[in-house]
């Protein structure tokens, strides 16, 4: 991918391989789980970039790499033009405060022994050591931002419902005025009527504060509602990428088409084009030769098993890796 001067975050050729443990490693034969195997993308300021794919495709590993919770095997991640894995000292602290995260399960992402006020204030206290009154004022404002009463500050996580807990988690992520928030399945643990509330909240906050989101989700409807750019991942590789509108109206890759057709209808009796995939996602330790999707692809032909397709731009801003095109 070319240099994009207007991007906030840029990822180039990112790879993360994990050493697999097993009998073979005893014989000092190393096998590798190729969780992320060379992906490139960029996130623009104020926009939402989403990664979709099934479990095990490497989307969470990518998020961990962005959050510096893992070191990449190869490739680079640039934030504001700086390689985040080269950052040291105050620069590193600055990155960590500008990039925040909201996780899937608000039952395990909040410390049960801390009050909401301490949970939300912790990033502030750790980074800036502001005076108490200022902390209190900021916590109150953050609670209002996420639609909670200021009185909720004194509550412990167990006193909140799932939706309210996720609001606390969002407030904590907002505390340091981040420029990027990594959202790892932010609504999938929530109930239907609560999901819509949190999705609207996330959108409102983005419009108000202009931060970018890096969203991971498996629910395509959620992705469509929140995203500007969407990339589809399969076995560690991006197979298609486009704007949200383009990807959902004109999907090109057979896997994207299958994912969209597998998404459940919101009306009964709606007859859509159905592409049912046979089999399961192959192991990332020994990914299939050629195109990694060829073992499940309904349109497979000879070339697919031999040669890995490269990502090509077929329409402006719409790239796809498939021999069909």
């Amino acid at each position: 991918m070319n240099g994009h001067s207007d991007s906030l975050l840029q990822v180039r050729g990112l790879k993360k391989h994990f050493a697999a443990r097993g009998l073979l490693s005893l014989l000092s034969v190393r096998t590798w789980v190729r969780a992320v195997d060379g992906i490139s993308f960029y996130v623009r300021p104020g926009e939402t970039f989403s990664l979709v794919g099934e479990s095990g495709c490497g989307k969470t590993t990518t998020a961990k790499l962005l959050l510096l919770l893992e070191q990449p095997t190869a490739g680079n991640i640039y934030f504001d033009g700086q390689d985040i894995n080269q950052l040291k000292g105050s620069e590193l602290r600055r990155y960590r405060s500008l990039v925040q995260a909201v996780f899937q399960d608000p039952w395990s992402s909040l410390n049960p022994r801390m009050r909401a006020s301490s949970i939300i204030a912790e990033p502030l206290v750790v980074n800036h050591k502001p005076p108490k009154q200022e902390v209190q004022r900021r916590v109150e404002q953050l609670l209002m931002d996420v639609g909670l009463e200021p009185a909720a500050a004194a509550n412990y996580p167990h006193e909140f419902s799932g939706g309210q807990r996720q609001r606390v988690a969002v407030a904590r992520a907002l505390a340091l005025n981040p420029r990027l928030i990594v959202l790892d399945e932010p609504v999938s643990a929530l109930d239907v009527s609560i999901r819509a509330q949190i999705m609207n909240l996330l959108r409102d906050l983005q419009r108000k504060y202009g931060m970018s989101y890096f969203l991971i989700a498996h629910n395509l409807a959620t992705v469509r509602y929140l995203s500007h750019q969407v990339a589809v991942m399969y076995l560690g590789l991006i197979v298609e990428q486009a704007t949200s509108e383009e990807l959902f109206t004109k999907p090109l890759h057979p896997y994207t088409k299958a994912l969209i057709s597998a998404a459940l209808p919101t009306q009964p009796g709606v007859q859509q084009e159905r592409i049912l995939l046979s089999g399961e996602v192959p192991s990332a330790t020994h990914p299939p030769s050629g195109c990694r999707f060829h073992t499940r692809c309904p349109f497979v032909f000879d070339r697919c098993a031999v040669e890995a397709p490269q990502l090509r731009e077929l329409a402006p801003g719409h790239t796809v890796a498939c021999h069909l095109y």
Binding site: D191, R195, N200, A262, L264, P265, T266, P268, Q272, L276
Partner: protein, 323 residues
């Protein structure tokens, strides 16, 4: 589709008796299930849909949970009066269950073959070669590849989708008339979910199976169910044919839920939201439990729970707006 009633639930009440007080988990639930039909039981977590299933199976977690009153009729036989010994003869043979999480439903230290053989040995008295043949046949029916060798596998050697197929093969092993499926696809990936639902539907068509399908996902309802019952705070507030429920929902809760679900095929400007959250079953408001969140609330709603009212053929609703 046959029109024979197979499972009837009447005014079922299962309450929790705990230190916190009395929790009305299932509070007067009634529904019918016919042969070859899929009835969806939809609602948010804590609305009592799982507890309804467990009560029907008589697997509710006692002693805290107690069935206070009601009837559960399978083939006209009252299940609530049966002893545990009699229930054991029925479960698996006439009415079987598929649970949400296949990893916890399977015993990790026994092979799939061992766990699949158990109901066949107990209910159908199969032994030896015939037992093995039937087990292989069942795994094949659920499209598990290399069925013969897979019998010797342990649950952890299966992927999520295969585990759910294995669990389903156990549930279907003795040709039950009724399957109670409690969120069977919630833990599966979308493409695996789509394939599993398709398979379940095909098996249903072949064997005229009746399915009570519990889910929180209206997409699954749209694809799987013939009729739907919507639950809120322990009560069924609306029942209708699937088509009808989606096109003309009568209860404000159903209407709001349907509007708050984003769609893949349409770019939505802003999602509709229901403010607030469901009430605690330990502290239910007087009258209609949805009243505190309802946009059409009137004084009467806060005082008295509305009676069940028929608004169209096989479409019933409990809401004062329709009385």
């Amino acid at each position: 589709m046959g029109d024979t009633l197979i499972l009837q639930v009447r005014d079922l009440k299962t309450y929790f008796f705990t230190k916190r007080g009395v929790g009305k988990a299932v509070d007067g639930v009634s529904f019918d299930l016919r042969r070859g039909e899929t009835l969806g039981l939809v609602g948010e977590s804590g609305c009592g849909k799982s507890m309804t299933c467990l009560s029907v199976m008589r697997l509710h977690p006692g002693p805290a949970a107690r069935i206070l009153s009601g009837q559960v009729l399978l083939h006209g036989e009252e299940l609530l009066q049966k002893t545990e010994k009699e229930m054991r003869k029925l479960r698996g043979k006439h009415i079987a269950m598929i649970l949400q999480d296949p990893m916890t439903a399977l015993n990790p230290v026994f092979t799939i073959g061992n766990q699949l053989a158990e109901p066949l040995r107990i209910h159908q008295k199969l032994r030896g070669h015939r037992l093995l043949q039937r087990a292989i046949e069942l795994l094949r029916m659920l499209q598990i590849p290399a069925a013969e060798s897979r019998l010797k596998s342990f649950p952890h050697q299966f992927s999520g989708g295969m585990r759910q197929r294995a669990v389903s093969s156990i549930a279907l092993s003795c040709d039950p008339e009724v399957i109670v499926a409690d969120e069977p696809t919630t833990s599966l990936d979308v493409t695996i979910q789509a394939a599993f639902l398709e398979l379940l539907k095909e098996i249903q068509r072949r064997s005229n199976l009746a399915i009570l399908f519990v889910t929180h996902d209206f997409g699954v309802v749209a694809r799987m169910c013939d009729r739907v019952a919507v639950m809120y705070a322990g009560k069924i507030i609306e029942t209708a044919d699937t088509q009808r429920l989606f096109s003309t929902p009568a209860h404000p809760y159903t209407e709001a839920l349907l509007k708050s679900v984003p769609e893949v095929n349409v770019q939505i400007d802003r999602l509709y939201t229901i403010e607030g959250q469901p009430p605690s079953i330990y502290d239910l408001p007087a009258g209609c439990p949805f009243a505190p969140r309802c946009p059409y609330v009137e004084d009467r709603c806060r005082q008295e729970f509305p009676p069940v009212k028929q608004v169209a053929n096989s479409h019933t609703v409990s809401c004062w707006r329709h009385v």
